[in-house]
Symmetry: C2
Subunit: 325 residues, 2 copies
């Protein structure tokens, strides 16, 4: 099958072995898959140990099932939870497969991803898509789930003053999911055209973070991926407030713990979330997410898609794995 | 009056001006005051901007009151909350004077402390001591309040596995306050004689932290003040667990946020606590704290007391400001 494969570098290959049927997995024909910053970090070698097909934001159609009892799934439009747990540990039993110590992660840890014609996923991870969710919205289920994870970890209430640092793909999803909480939301971005997208959604933005008052926010969400932003977050959060680290950072940064201790700040790491939350969000609020897609490429031009995704003038880049259906 | 005064360096002075009566403050004759690591950091110049008399762990007797309506307090054994708030801001109104942006802090921020014959404290900070609390226990109210602050910030339950890193003065107080929670407590120390004090209280300790299982603790409390311990805490805490930063750190340290984000760790800065909690703890549990006092010096030998407090073979050093009463 056609696929993008990473081994030291990302290559397009027309003849990668297609996944074989397994008794505990489902094979999906990929329709489209979005490029995430984690995918870009994989191609830069920042995700240690990963060799294989990246890609974890996707939807497709069930192509093959373990046995006839699953035949009703054939052709269904689906996606899959990216964290594949062992099913036995305390985390899996608590519906927290995303923290299973033996997990594989689609396109990130020991499991091939979605920049290919087909993918094989464990049965429990399969997520059928309601008809009310458009294809372009389905591509954002994984990042929306990650955004909603913040609200699983902490309550965000209407009287909270929230500062979101970042205006990229993930920050846009975070902002969209924060809006219905009714919190007082301010987004500090760096790109006029990206903050304009947020303004269109009625979200308050600024390009001049220094103009915001210090120690005035109950919660600061760092979703820019910039290590300097952590220092800025410490300046903006109020005593006893919280800083949410929502980005994956390629490198460490220096950290002065004194203000964290003196002001009793909570720092909260936040990663993947439940797909069911994201689907509920999409069904309830029906945001138009097409405006976040900057460019589309066929799978055969996948390398060009990755080059484009790294340009500052693009938001989400989508790779279409079947040209049309 | 006799006092220890810090200005560039700590000096003993026999003729420091005694505090004058104010309409909103109470003057206390200091009986005794303990030396805390923060005091030592002040004498090393690590607490920017402080010039004055250090010392914030003390008890004494009310010597002078604003007017006759307070006469009943004269001679009462008391201590004082160290954070003196403005009384008007949202933090003060929420009983969180310790986060008032305009606060003074006894012996630490813009207010003279307790290594002297007399101290003047704002009326609302005065804390009368119940007769059931022995003098030596009264000296530990401030660090016990700081230790109990952890439990104000987060619930510590009987099924929690808690690792406490550190065996010094503050760590001993943290361990004592954790014990009644019924949590599974393990203390990782560096000094056999200090961990022995904990063992005498029935607390499990180890000198070989590497022997403890990785990612096995729900909560790791860093109370050693060592920046390396933060990395060790990250290794020991389970996914979705919490690291409490209980020490004041003189310097910054490098910080790799990746495991914090991937494992969704909560990092919680924790500082001062409510004296009422510490008094309740002392009344309920009546721990013997005399064993934590290594040496006592008269105020006239205060410089020697500070030298002794910095030796590795001492725990709490106490300065007696009135020889006997």
């Amino acid at each position: 099958m056609k696929a993008l494969h990473f081994h030291d570098q990302l290559r397009y290959t027309p003849d990668f072995p297609a996944p074989e049927n397994r008794s505990d997995e489902i094979i999906i024909q990929i329709a489209s898959a979005g490029i995430c910053n984690t995918d870009i970090e994989i191609t830069r070698g920042y995700v240690p140990g990963f060799n294989g097909i990246p890609g974890h934001e996707f939807y497709g159609y069930v192509a093959s099932v373990p046995d006839a009892s699953y035949d009703c799934l054939i052709g269904k439009r689906v996606t899959a939870e990216i964290n594949c747990g062992c099913g036995k540990c305390s985390f899996c039993k608590a519906d927290l497969e995303r923290h299973c110590p033996d997990r594989t992660v689609i396109g990130i840890v020991n499991r091939n991803g979605a920049f290919a014609e087909y993918i094989s996923v464990p049965l429990p991870t399969l997520v059928p898509l309601p008809d009310t969710i458009p294809d372009n919205s389905a591509l954002f289920i994984e990042p929306l789930a990650a955004a909603l994870e913040i609200q699983e970890q902490m309550a965000i209430l209407p009287d909270h003053r929230v500062l979101l640092i970042g205006d990229g793909k993930l920050a846009q999803c975070v902002a969209l999911t924060l809006k219905p909480t009714g919190c007082s939301l301010q987004v500090a971005g760096r790109h006029k055209w990206k903050t304009a997208l947020l303004q269109q959604q009625g979200i308050s933005t600024t390009l001049d973070q220094t103009s915001l008052p210090d120690h005035a926010f109950d919660i600061v969400i760092e979703a820019s991926g910039s290590s300097a932003a952590f220092g800025e977050a410490l300046t903006k959060v109020r005593p006893r407030g919280a800083i949410v680290l929502k980005s994956t950072y390629a490198k460490g940064f220096s950290f002065n713990p004194a203000p964290v201790v003196v002001n009793e700040i909570t720092i909260l790491g936040s990663r993947c979330g439940r797909f069911s939350s994201a689907i509920g969000f999409l069904e309830n609020h029906r945001p138009d997410l097409s405006c976040l897609i900057s460019k589309r490429f066929p799978l055969t031009d996948g390398i060009m898609a990755f080059e484009t995704a790294q340009r500052k003038d693009t938001m989400k880049v989508v790779i279409d794995c079947i040209p049309e259906r």
